[in-house]
């Protein structure tokens, strides 16, 4: 595909690797926030050939969806009058006792969509069903989810509702930097999050914590160039926000998309699975749209969420432990039978490690 294949050139990739090796005088620790970036790094083995330590951050919105929200989703999906619509990633994430795929196998009406517009179409085509859309994601996905809601409202689709649980990147980065044993010295910011939000909100973070932040794309050449730019800043003692993904990201981002977010959602405190509560790190449906909030429409009682005690997802997501440090990794916790979210999504650090064959 044009504007994709060129950034997978192996000759240029090897040159970039060489350049990083020639530039770094010490083993810097850099965190990439986004799961899509983790996927490319691990799949291509880029983190194995570079003289930097890549710490894989909590950049998988699927992995960090709180257990309580997931259990609530499962309870709603189990109801006979509900058609539960979700992105594919969420299907295998383990709740306290089951997951959406297992529920589907037992007869629940659960559908996968690629676009939230299809969830709206499903609601329009099935007026006798309660269509609930599981709206998860970072700031990249939230505008699309927002439009689905606005469309449903505009078309008067009263059988449509949304279970919304979005997470925001900057508070997560701040939480990582505030952690007492933080080893992160530089960040690759998530390219598509920044395509929507711009990069202005990262400037105070770079300044306050004196860390370089480079907005980076997702193809191998993007990641290598982003890492090179970060290493150069570290070597030069700079701590600025730079944009590697210039073909897609501008400083102000996408204003119409931001306006939709401001209209449909409100910032809220959010629990990140495996990490804990991070203040003002999530988005929930604005009060104006309470009538379409699945959390209010469906009374599923009190949710008592219980994590598997063996799962160290939190430490893996914050980068303080590797999957190979986990006693359950590769033994009772595998992609086929995951204990925690990072083993499910192929971006999840544990699954990425397992697929690459990395052992303790």
């Amino acid at each position: 595909m044009k504007y994709l294949a060129e950034y997978r050139d192996p000759v240029l990739a090897r040159r970039l690797v060489h350049e990083v090796c020639a530039t770094a005088t010490q083993r810097w620790s850099i965190m990439e926030v986004c799961g899509g970036q983790t996927h490319t790094l691990v799949r291509q083995g880029i983190d194995e050939v570079l003289p930097v330590r890549m710490i894989h951050g909590p950049g998988c919105p699927v992995c960090v969806t709180s257990l309580e929200v997931l259990d609530r989703a499962l309870a709603i999906a189990a109801r006979p009058e509900v058609t539960f619509v979700s992105y594919g990633d969420m299907l295998r994430v383990p709740g306290s006792s089951t997951d959406l795929l297992a529920l589907k196998a037992r007869g629940a009406d659960i559908r996968i969509v690629y676009s939230p517009v299809d969830a709206v179409r499903l609601a329009a085509a099935n007026p006798d069903r309660q269509v609930v859309f599981f709206a998860v994601g970072f700031e990249t996905t939230a505008p699309a989810n927002a439009m689905a809601l606005l469309e449903a409202v505009r078309r008067g689709l009263e059988n449509f509702s949304m279970l919304a649980s979005h997470v925001l990147v900057p508070p997560a980065m701040t939480a990582v930097l505030e952690a007492p044993d933080c080893q992160v010295q530089g960040f690759l910011a998530a390219g598509h999050v920044c395509a929507v939000m711009g990069w202005a909100q990262y400037e105070p973070i770079a300044a306050k914590y004196a860390v370089p932040i480079v907005v980076t794309g997702f193809e191998p050449l993007d990641l290598l160039e982003g890492i090179l730019m970060t290493v150069r800043q570290l070597e030069q003692g700079r701590a600025e926000v730079e944009n590697q993904y210039a073909r897609a990201v501008r400083r102000d981002g996408n204003r119409p998309a931001q306006l939709a977010l401001e209209r449909v959602f409100e910032v809220t405190d959010r629990t990140w699975r495996g990490i804990g509560a991070i203040p003002a790190s999530g988005l929930r449906l604005a009060d104006e749209f309470a009538a379409y909030d699945a959390e209010l429409r469906f009374d599923v009682g009190d949710i008592v969420a219980a994590e598997n005690p063996l799962c160290i997802a939190g430490e893996v997501l914050q980068g303080t432990k590797n999957p190979t440090d986990c006693a359950a990794y590769g033994r009772i916790c595998t992609p086929r039978s995951p204990l925690g979210a990072p083993m499910v999504s192929s971006e999840g650090t544990c699954a990425a490690f397992h697929r690459a064959g990395r052992t303790a």
Partner: protein, 339 residues
């Protein structure tokens, strides 16, 4: 037949007599479909006498019809290929149909016609069968279960556990077409494209390969569910060898790559229905490749990897930065992702 035009719980005999047998056409041996049939095995110098190969398979694809085929032609090709992967010439098939009540008769007729056409093109007959109609919800429109009978090619010594060190890994054609095609017509995920399923029979291709390479053709597999990666992992484990793939040699059509990029899938895990992977001793590689390229199903054949030293059962691929990464089996279903 019921006037409503739908399959119902009463009268499978009518379905067989009025719809299925006529639709199968020439492929229905003797014009009457029975529960069992006597099959005369051909005698030929090319076939090993006394060695009968038998296979069975079930087909549950949804939707029933897709660009390039349907569950009927898929079932015929899939069964023929099961036999072919053992080095057999297919002789006869059976077909058991489980039909959901309410399935339109015209759909059934079209699918069975397709089976008949596919079987005739493969040179096989459908000699026996069974039909059951089950209640709504008990089957996803239609399931097809087949058995295949064939005769072993003389000179064929093929088995998943026969792979040797330094064997070449050959691929007969492009990968990812069938799975991507089915995805393109799936509700909620559809897209438009010109791609069609690669569903096709491979027995003539295999016959040419065995004629050229004989016992040097060590293993064959058609990488269906789970894709090329899963097939390679299974063979590597069975033979206790390590396999190294060259990513740049993999024939991934542009549209397959685009669909995989769009949905976050790995072409190595996407199902195929018309290509095979072969493990061949180095001294016969040139001959076998030439033989493959002389047949329609193998014009794009090439080498994609080698059996190397390494941990038994490990399949690896060299990445663009020169790192060797493991290529694993597909776990569960390949689901499209957002991140």
């Amino acid at each position: 037949m019921r006037p409503s035009g739908c399959c119902s719980g009463t009268g499978p005999e009518e379905l067989i007599r009025d719809v299925i047998v006529p639709a199968l056409g020439a492929a229905a041996a003797g014009g009457v479909l029975q529960d069992a049939a006597v099959v005369a095995l051909p005698a030929s110098a090319a076939l090993r006498s006394g060695a009968v190969v038998i296979s069975t398979d079930s087909f549950v694809v949804s939707p029933l019809v897709f660009p390039g085929g349907d569950i009927g032609s898929l079932a015929v090709h899939g069964t023929v290929n099961d036999l072919a992967m053992r080095g057999a010439v297919p002789i006869a098939l059976t077909a058991a149909l489980v039909i959901e009540e309410g399935m339109p008769i015209e759909t059934l007729r079209a699918i069975v016609t397709s089976m008949g056409v596919a079987a005739a093109a493969c040179g096989v007959t459908i000699v026996a069968g069974d039909t059951k109609v089950v209640g709504r919800g008990a089957a996803d429109q239609m399931f097809v279960t087949t058995a295949g009978v064939g005769c072993l090619l003389d000179g064929a010594q093929i088995g998943a556990d026969r792979v040797q060190a330094r064997d070449a890994v050959l691929l007969s054609g492009p990968i990812g077409l069938h799975g991507t095609t089915v995805l393109s017509v799936r509700e909620g995920l559809g897209f438009e494209s010109a791609i069609t399923s690669d569903s096709q029979p491979l027995h003539r291709l295999v016959a040419e390969m065995v004629a050229a390479g004989g016992a040097d053709v060590h293993a064959l597999r058609d990488p269906t569910r789970g894709g090329l990666a899963s097939a390679l992992n299974e063979i590597a484990a069975a033979s206790r060898v390590a396999v190294l793939l060259d990513e740049s040699a993999l024939p991934v059509p542009a549209e397959v790559a685009a669909a995989c990029d769009l949905f976050g899938l790995d072409p190595l895990h996407v199902a195929n229905e018309g290509c095979l992977v072969a493990f061949v001793a180095p001294r016969s590689v040139a001959k076998v490749l030439a033989a493959m390229r002389s047949v329609a199903a193998g014009t794009a054949a090439g080498q994609v990897g080698t059996v190397t030293a390494g941990p038994a059962g490990r399949v690896a691929m060299t990445t663009m930065v020169g790192v060797s990464r493991v290529v694993d089996m597909l776990v569960g279903e390949a689901l499209p992702r957002i991140c």
